[in-house]
């Protein structure tokens, strides 16, 4: 009797252990499946983000790099069709690209959902509130603005303009030209006591190898009316143009008017601190609807 009882008890215990094993195995399998599904969802979100980001970046033709206390804007100017592209691209993504399990949003700098077609062409450096912007998406003109209160935040600006459809047609680059390259009118130079001043370094290069570097590099930007203006003569086969470079006056620090010249510009702002961040044109958010998985980053 005792022997049978022990066998029975042992058998029941073994059964319980086996059932617990099965239960544990099933739970683990379900957990693994769920993890794999989440990994796949995360991959889908990341691939979608990268796919859209590439198109947006190609449209903006603008690369922003922050390093220490400097921020650089590598920018192709002017552009063609961005406004129409942005409007249609946002619609196309909503109508044809999104799936029931994938949601795509374009976010404004404050994180709210926005229509890509209404995107303002302004990039802001915060908290100094320095604005790098164009009047419109044609990108024929480029401005840098900063309030008087924050004017000391920018210690220096380096601007390099690489011209791809014209050549520099002023002296000394072209000795036979009628104008000098450096002819600021008005010409507001700074002194050591100038309260609002900007060290500005300009380099212009053309596709023929012509190269010009500005001699004067300190400007008074605290006056009123027009800033210091230099119209740099350039020429291509169809005619003569000029690139207007205006330094000052606050709140406008820089105004580059390209007219018909096609350029790649590199604008580097040196700040008095590395404690700043950039409000990019837009942030892109892709979300796997059925999972708690998304990616939000500047586009």
């Amino acid at each position: 009797m005792a022997k049978g009882f022990i066998i029975a008890i042992t058998t029941v215990l073994i059964l319980i252990v086996m059932l617990l094993y099965v239960q544990n195995f099933a739970a683990k399998q379900n957990s693994d499946l769920s993890k794999i599904a989440q990994i796949l969802a995360a991959e889908k979100v990341t691939h979608a983000w990268s796919d859209i980001r590439d198109d947006i970046n190609r449209a903006f033709a603008l690369l922003i790099t922050k390093e220490g206390n400097s921020v650089s804007f590598l920018d192709q100017l002017p552009s063609e069709g961005i406004e129409s592209f942005l409007h249609h691209y946002g619609l196309f993504i909503k109508n044809y690209y999104e799936t029931p399990d994938l949601d795509v949003k374009f976010l404004s700098p404050d994180g709210t959902d926005m229509d890509l077609g209404t995107l303002p062409p302004v990039i802001t450096i915060m908290p100094q509130n320095i604005q790098y912007y164009y009047p419109d998406w044609a990108k024929r003109r480029l401005f840098v603005n900063c309030s008087k209160e924050n004017a000391s935040a920018i210690t220096q600006i380096f601007l390099t303009v690489n011209i791809s459809n014209a050549y520099i047609n002023c002296k000394p680059v072209n000795p036979s030209a009628s104008n000098d390259c450096e002819k600021f009118t008005p010409n507001r130079q700074c002194t050591e006591t100038t309260p609002y001043r900007l060290y500005f370094n300009l380099t212009i290069a053309d596709y023929q190898g012509g190269f010009y570097q500005l001699k004067q590099n300190c400007f008074d930007i605290g006056g009123s009316g027009s800033g210091s203006v230099d119209n740099i003569d350039v020429k291509n086969v169809t005619g003569a143009y000029f690139i207007k470079v205006e330094v000052g006056n606050l709140p406008q620090i820089l105004d580059i008017d390209l007219h018909n010249v096609v350029t790649m510009t590199n604008t580097t702002l040196i700040l008095n601190t590395s404690d700043f961040y950039i409000n990019y044109l837009t942030q892109l958010e892709t979300t796997a609807v059925n999972y708690d998985t998304d990616r939000v980053d500047r586009a």
Partner: protein, 140 residues
């Protein structure tokens, strides 16, 4: 009585072992492990074509040339994978998109089950032309 009790327990034990094996086996068989690789294969394939500018080239190609180019890429997929790659190009005007081109290339026949769908978007910015490439892959 005692004998019958032990026989019953033995039978119960045997049935339990069978049940355990059955549960483990059915889990193993029902989890389509290979399917996990399909999204990986498809995403890698489509991302490669997107990043190296292959899709963008379609804007300047005839349908015939584009199909030949995409077919040559489909041939590079693993041999046990079948695929259908559809490309639709639409022109945007106002809030309306008009489909201007549409074609697809295939390799093998899709299984109809355990298929993976992957999309990529590409655009010709100046012309407001928008392309959508949709890949469906399955094991052959």
């Amino acid at each position: 009585m005692k004998k019958a009790f032990i026989f019953t327990l033995d039978a119960l034990f045997a049935v339990s072992i069978l049940a355990v094996f059955f549960v483990v086996y059915s889990f193993e068989m029902n989890v389509p492990k290979e399917t996990y690789w399909l999204p990986e294969i498809g995403n890698t394939f489509m991302t490669s074509l997107d990043k190296n500018g292959t899709f963008y080239q379609i804007f300047s190609q005839s349908d015939g040339d584009a199909k030949a180019m995409l077919s040559s890429y489909l041939d590079k997929l693993p041999r046990n994978v079948n695929a259908d790659l559809a490309v639709n190009i639409s022109h945007g005007s106002g809030d309306i998109f008009t489909r201007t081109r549409s074609f697809h290339v295939t390799r093998g026949a899709l299984s109809g089950t355990q298929e993976t769908h992957i999309k990529r978007v590409f655009a010709n910015i100046q012309n407001a032309d928008f392309g959508l490439a949709e890949l469906v892959i399955s094991y052959g």
